[in-house]
Symmetry: C2
Subunit: 340 residues, 2 copies
Amino acid sequence: MAASRKVTIADIARHVGMTNITVSRALNKPELVRPATRERIEQAALELGYVPNAFARGLKRSDSRLIGVVTASLDNPFYAEMIKAISRHAKQHDYAIMLFDTDSDPRLESTAIDTLLSYQAAGLILSPVSDEPDYQPDYLVRLKASDIAVVQLDRTLHDSGFSAVVLDNLWAGERVAHYLLEEALIAQRRTERDRLLVVAGPERSRITCERLEGVREALSAQAGEVTIDVLWGDYTLAPAVTQVRDYLGRHGVPRAIFGLNQLITLGALKALREAGIGRDQTCVVGIDRLPYLEIFDITVPCVVHDGYRAGAQALEQLLVQMRDPQAEVCTLTVRGELVT
Amino acid sequence: MAASRKVTIADIARHVGMTNITVSRALNKPELVRPATRERIEQAALELGYVPNAFARGLKRSDSRLIGVVTASLDNPFYAEMIKAISRHAKQHDYAIMLFDTDSDPRLESTAIDTLLSYQAAGLILSPVSDEPDYQPDYLVRLKASDIAVVQLDRTLHDSGFSAVVLDNLWAGERVAHYLLEEALIAQRRTERDRLLVVAGPERSRITCERLEGVREALSAQAGEVTIDVLWGDYTLAPAVTQVRDYLGRHGVPRAIFGLNQLITLGALKALREAGIGRDQTCVVGIDRLPYLEIFDITVPCVVHDGYRAGAQALEQLLVQMRDPQAEVCTLTVRGELVT
DNA sequence: CTGTTAGCGCTTTCAT
DNA sequence: ATGAAAGCGCTAACAG
């Protein structure tokens, strides 16, 4: 309420008849101060409503207790899960999170990185707006020149040289494709070639390429019997809906539809529903769990990844690199699991 | 890669043969510097990879471009939506977000606030772990003593004296109850008293009380015909499931079940499903949208609130108060909409 | 155990 | 249009 010029350690020092440094010590390294004085100081700090100034401290000892998280979207529940894990674990190690939702805008990503650098963030968990090879953001040099630890999560830059925690995308694609072969009867009625529709992310996205590669490998032996059609999108719901709608209009119902992430799969399901095509007319599979559907007895077979674990691992790796800047760059791969 | 002692404005100054202050000005108030010099300075800054030090700046001018967001959970999609809005709008005004997920732990909430104060955050959007009257956190004094602008979001502290953006909970409860009366045939078969099961949050939670109050008002004329049973929980899924399961075992299937938030409603549905009770045997209604269900043709009538709008309003209000510390404390109410 | 000194990087006077 | 000096709040490094 009161105007209250900010209370500093000097105020406390005056209050208890000591000098700044003693107060500083009492508050930060209590063991270096006589218990009696310490208590008086702590008491005074409380009374005066002292709040340490992170800027002053950060300026002096150029290290911060800040970890930056830069992600393309909070909408995606999979990302929300990873962020939850990061946040929880960061807290345990006494780091605060500075979160940037870049909204898929490369410029916002760039300013986010700069802000983090200016705040001397100790570490950065980065999931860039794009994992296409020609996305080579200009902030990379600055990031490299700084001594901030960096771990990429899920999406990775090409040749960035930073550590990463990624999903086993090849495996996921393969696994789903095998499931289709074995369980969902693809390529088992020989009257005509089966069509598998894969609804993907951007054409050059690494994640999309890897997942597709997995599909192709799994189906390579069936090359004569299965045609793979691919629709390119951007991992969000809306384009998936319109694209699938369009495809259905043009080519009819394929034998199976594979959505390369959660939102895409939902989009495909939506398009099917709009077109009045029942779940029994085609087989829909995906990557990432569709939340809560089990409650309604709806099953969409999919490879699910443990986002919480991925986030936690990213943070662990980051801590390792923060402790030891020489630590080897490494890529951890999180493998999913088929849930039918 | 290089060792790279940090580049400061002094380095730039040396590089271009000017003094610190000129460099500072060139970078912050370009109009005060001759265009030629300015360009040379900007050029040098780029070359040397200069990154401004937010701590030094913050220390000097005690204002920051930081807005803190403290919330009990990122799990809740409704909160994720609000945070998305906050983040997007903050960015537009050139503020960075410092996000704290308190995991419903009051101590974490308290340290989050202290961290924000120490970082001189310009504003704080707070959704505390509890909105029960006896939750009077100790950080309140510090918050009041500081000059940080505060806006509460959704959950509010009792008598805190801070502005807030809240939902029209009374209306939501009323609206759903009226729907039950009019459409869902509650109190229309007179053979026996109808039972309405409300699955709520904590017993003393303001939001729960308000929503319940709405229900009671709406049904007051039917006091003789409708019994309202209430189960207390904590707005999360798991307890809702077990409580409803238990209730069903004890009292059988009620005429209708009203989940006071999204996760609770899902929990109730899950319990019903586990008990093998079909959607036709009771009427389930809720507050907050159950995402994506329309894709599967599942409808759960509910009052939905626009989380994005609520978040955006909270940030707007915060900006108002940051600009004018004298601005009047105010409470904005966001009304939902019944979706059937 | 406590104090002195000095300086982190930047910006605000007030001069020139 | 540019510069000199001073200081924001805090903490290393060295004394005592």
